[in-house]
Structure formats: C-alpha cells, structure tokens
Symmetry: C2
Subunit: 383 residues, 2 copies
Amino acid sequence: MQPFVFWNPTEVVFGKNGVKKLGKLVKKYGGSKVLLVYGKGSIKKTGLYQQVLDSLKEAGIEWVEHSGVKPNPVLSHTREGVEKAKREKVDLVLAVGGGSVIDESKAIAAGALADCDVWEFFEFTQTIKAALPIVTVLTICGTGSEMNAGLVITNEEKKAKYGFRSPYLFPKVSVLDPTITFSVPKDQTAYGAVDAFSHVFEVYMNREDLNSPIPEGIMETLMRTIVERTPQAQENPEDYTARADLMWASSLALSGLTWCGVSAAPMLPCHAIEHALSAFYDIAHGAGLAIVMPAWMRLMKDEKAEEIKRFASRVFGVEGVDEGIEAFERWLKRVECPVRLSEASIPESDIPALAENGNRLAFHWGYKEYTKELIEKILRLAV
Amino acid sequence: MQPFVFWNPTEVVFGKNGVKKLGKLVKKYGGSKVLLVYGKGSIKKTGLYQQVLDSLKEAGIEWVEHSGVKPNPVLSHTREGVEKAKREKVDLVLAVGGGSVIDESKAIAAGALADCDVWEFFEFTQTIKAALPIVTVLTICGTGSEMNAGLVITNEEKKAKYGFRSPYLFPKVSVLDPTITFSVPKDQTAYGAVDAFSHVFEVYMNREDLNSPIPEGIMETLMRTIVERTPQAQENPEDYTARADLMWASSLALSGLTWCGVSAAPMLPCHAIEHALSAFYDIAHGAGLAIVMPAWMRLMKDEKAEEIKRFASRVFGVEGVDEGIEAFERWLKRVECPVRLSEASIPESDIPALAENGNRLAFHWGYKEYTKELIEKILRLAV
C-alpha cells in the first residue's frame, strides 16, 4: 500500500426528487443569489429547469443565468461567466448539467474571487486561493466532476485544452437523481459510461501496487457494474436501477477513492492520447477512449500481463490476456462504441500528426514515457 | 438502489511517518493550543508520545494533556476533559489512541462549546450546534471512529452506554500510520479486525437491497481483505501490507460508504446484543461479536439464505449457507477468537438476563423486532 492523502468533502444527495431539496441545500452552503449555469437548454425541454427555479424560489434564493456552455467548455464563455458573477455579486455557482457545465462552473467559481484572469490558474502562473461555493445537479454521467476538484477548459485562441485541480473546487453538494438521466440517448449513455469506465481502467492498469486488495476490489466492482448496467440502460432508458448504478459508479470512479494506496495521482495516458483525437476530429471523448483503450492494451499486453489477466477474469469472467482484450472490445461494440479509427472516419494517414499532438499532451500531463513513437504504435493498433 | 446522503469530510493522511506532519495539520485546521487526549500511557512506551510532542513543538503549538481514557470511555472522565478544555481555552482536540480515545475526544469537542452538560447530547435532550475541531492519530484499528461522526460513551452512574452522531464530529484529519499498529498484540489485533468486519457484515446481512452491485462489491472487498490480512498481521506483527490493509479496511468499514444505496443507516443488531454481553462480563467487544455473529447467522439461515450464500461464496470461497457459517467460524477460531459463550466463561444460566438487557439495548437502537425471546434464541445457539 502506497502512502496517500484522501479528502473528498462533497455531500452527495442521491435519489429521486433531489431537486426539490435544492433550494435548501443552496441556502445551507451560503447561497442567497446564485449564478445558474447550464448548457444549450435541454433542461428546459425536460422540465428540469422549471423544477430548479421552483426550488430556488421556494427557498427565497435569487438567481442570474449563464447559459450556453459548450460540450467542451471554452475560455471565452467562462470569462463571460466570471464577469457576470462579479458584476451581479452572486455568492454561489449552481451548475445544472453534465461534466462540461460543472467544469465551467468550477472555473467561474475560481475566477469570481480572483484578481487575475482565470486562465492564469490553468497556466500555473497564479495559484487559486479561494472560490465561490459550487452546487451541482447532474444531468449526464461520465466525467465524475460532480464529486471531485478537477476541471478542463479549452482556450480557443491558444488552442489549448488544459486542466487543473484545487481543493477549493470540490462541489459543496451534488444532487444525483438517476431519473434525470432517463432522457440521455443511447450513444451518450455509452460514451459517458466508457469515460467513467476509463477513469477506473487507467488507474487499474497503471497502478504501482498489485498487492492492495481494497483499491483493487473497489475498482473491479465499479468496472463490473458499468459493464453490466450500460446495456441495460440503453435497452430500457427508464431502468432506474441501471441508471442509478451508472450514476454512482461514475461519481466514485474519479472521486479519489480508487487510487488510495496504489498511485499518488491517477495516471491517465489513454486520456492524453484521446484528447489528441478529439482535438482533430468531431468525436465524443468516450468514443475516442473506446478506440484508444483496446489498442493500448494490445501494445502493453506483455508489460501489463498480470493486470490484464486479473481484469479479464474479474471484470469479464474470461481467462487470459488476449481473451480479456477481446471481451472488452466485444462489450464496447455491444454498447455501440467505435473500436477502430476507421469507424470514427479517422484516416490512417493522420496517425503521425495525431501522435505528435498526443505526445505534446502526454508530456503536459507528465507521462514522459509516452513518446511520439509509442503513441504512433498504439494508434496503428487501432487501424 | 435506495436514496442516500453521503458526506464524509475527514481528511485521511495515510502512510509511514504521518506524525511528522501532525503539527502542520493541526495548524491547518486552526489549532494553536490543543487538548492532547490519550489513554493509559502505552504511547509513551512506544515513543509515539514524544513524536507527537516534537511535531507540535516544531509547529509552535501549545498543548494541555488529558490522559487516562478507559477502554470503554466513561462520562466522568469526559466531563473532566470538557472542564479542562474550557478552562484552558484550547481550540482543538487532538486524540492519540484507538476508538475509545477518539470517542471521548469527540464528546469533549462537543462539550467544550456547549452550555449544557455533555450527557444531554446522548439523551437527546439537547442538540449539538458546534464542536471544537478534532484531529486524530490512530493507534489501534477497529471502531472506525477516525473516519466517522459517531461516538459511544458510558454513563457509570446511570449504567448506560449510549451513542450519538453529529456532522460536527467528523475528525478534520486522521493520521493513519500502519507502523504505529505494529505493537498491537495478537488478541487485540483480532478483536479490532472482528469489530471492523462486523461493521461490514451487519450492513451486508441486513440491507434492504440485494441488487446494488456497488455497495455489495465494496463490502465483499473489505470483508475479504480483513479475512486475509488478520492472520498475516498476527503471524508477523510488522507486516506493513497486512497492517496497512487492516487499517484502511477498518476506516472505510464505518465511513458511511458501505451502506450508500442499501440502507438509510447501518443496522447493527449483533452489536446491540454484544453490548449486553460486555456490560455483564469483562469481554472485549470484538470477542463478544465473534460469539454473537455466527449464532445470529444460525438463527437467520433461512430468512437470510441469499445473503449468507453470497457471503459464503464471495468472502470465503465456499458454496452453501451452512458451509458459509462454518467457514466464518473456522476463521474466527483461526484468529483465536472465542465462538461460544463458554469460551468466554459466560454460563448458560445467564442467558435470560443477558437477553433482557440485550432487548433493552436493541430497543434503544431501534431494532424493535429483536425481542427478548429472539435474542434468547440467538444466545442459546452460542452455547
């Protein structure tokens, strides 16, 4: 067991009708006038928007809206949110959406109490010293941002997709109501599930300690759950049990619990490589991961033989390295994810350029062993 | 999946030499003058006491001592601590010990900021509204008090052993250094491990939802880990891996994570029955649980057949209800715990009186179905 520090102070309010408690929860964490952050308005179609307003009104809480967050949240829109938060003197940021909305809300919460431009935190030229309290209502599972202190924002001018973490950025409370995700379509359900799966998978495969049964067992549990529940949620979108288990698995996946004792921080090389893909092509993060992960396994099958064997046996119930990789690919296909570059219309000829970009990202993330050559080898195994 | 609220804000600092960081951690949580609470002085023999003082001194932190906490902490000593904390105007309570020391520290932290007598919180005649920050250094695993908000104190005059929980009573930070537990003797290692095991076992057996793979998998992982590591720690007291896994398993066992989605609160009927035993006889809590749990299983083997079968298969690798109970008993014997009343010198003739007391406790804990007759039946299965 490696030394670790674990701290996750987010309050999770899980179950049906959680939004009814929202006003009271916002009040509990000091909110009297909130910046209500959301995306392109799907919450208006589902009725969630009105439920949120009703709950705020009932608790006597004022709000200012900041809508239009993009699927990959951008700096320009974040800066608008920061200005609005300052101008309107809000005292809490309320995110109603998925990982993008929550990530942008975190950046706004940090920027609202800063004298510097918020991008400085991403460049590490300034250190965050405070943030407005953040409350979230999750509408789509996958990133785990609702229960951690990290965020990723894209600077469109600099073409840089950077992230950082700060203990100030844990949401104070996250409302997790699985019924809100009933309306998430089949493909988005899979991409979110694969993203959550990858957060566990990458830690499992890259851990430094193979003799720690607690993190190992927790990770196997989360992966097994996602494997079982994703197709169920796809087949029956209103399967509460499937949606609930996917939601809790996604939140725990990146909560910090899984790597306690096995790594100081999560090592996510497939994520770095995938970011190179989704920077060049219009491909969902989860779909890109579905292509990269099996290819990564094929390259690593000797080096990570023991990890892959355990994964094969305990997550998919098959014995052997190749059998494990095949079972994983079969499952990815079953939930209708692409598993080859061609399925995402990415031509083989782009691999060198993708590898170069992937290497730059991997270097930024601290994975120095992920050279251009290594990434190229991985991507060629996804042809 | 049942609805739940999960919130556990304790920072866990896990690994060797954690005590060196203690002074800084105390400062981080606002301590400048602490009440140093400990037991009968074993920390002086092991050198831990001096390490604690060195770390406090280095950070410029003053301290006042409150030693002599009993294995079952008592109200009179707690009240002395409260008075000392008020008189000396300490701003943080530092617990260095096991569950008893931490529990008494929590009561002192609550009492120090209260106008009423601290026992009123246990009688529910007053509600806790604040508490001094609590920091712990754990010296013996089992109760899990280092990572939760509960405590149990005995009122000697009223002969009442009561507990309560409050969100104010989560330790701010707990230093978990497995090497500190190298000196814990064989029997105490087992009793602590069985206590931790029971916190998981009781939730596993009494859950309302058998279709929640996340809590189920986490609980099976923790129980398997305790089963594997306890004899290893007994055979080689300085086996870091065994001690570390036992420590983390014990802390997680009662952290609230295990019952997310399966029960609103942990249901611990064997604990209520065991408290009746240890109130009458000089028997360790873990030893009493080792007697009660298998007897409880024998009585419940039809009603809880599915739960016991899964437990048998996934924790002990055997198939069948009876086989599961036998495997559990074999393990308890292997780690040198008593499994029959006679082994703890408790005569059969005392069973009616024990059952009556057990029923009183079970009623206080809210387990109304645990009548005197039912408890008597359970205890007769431990003859």
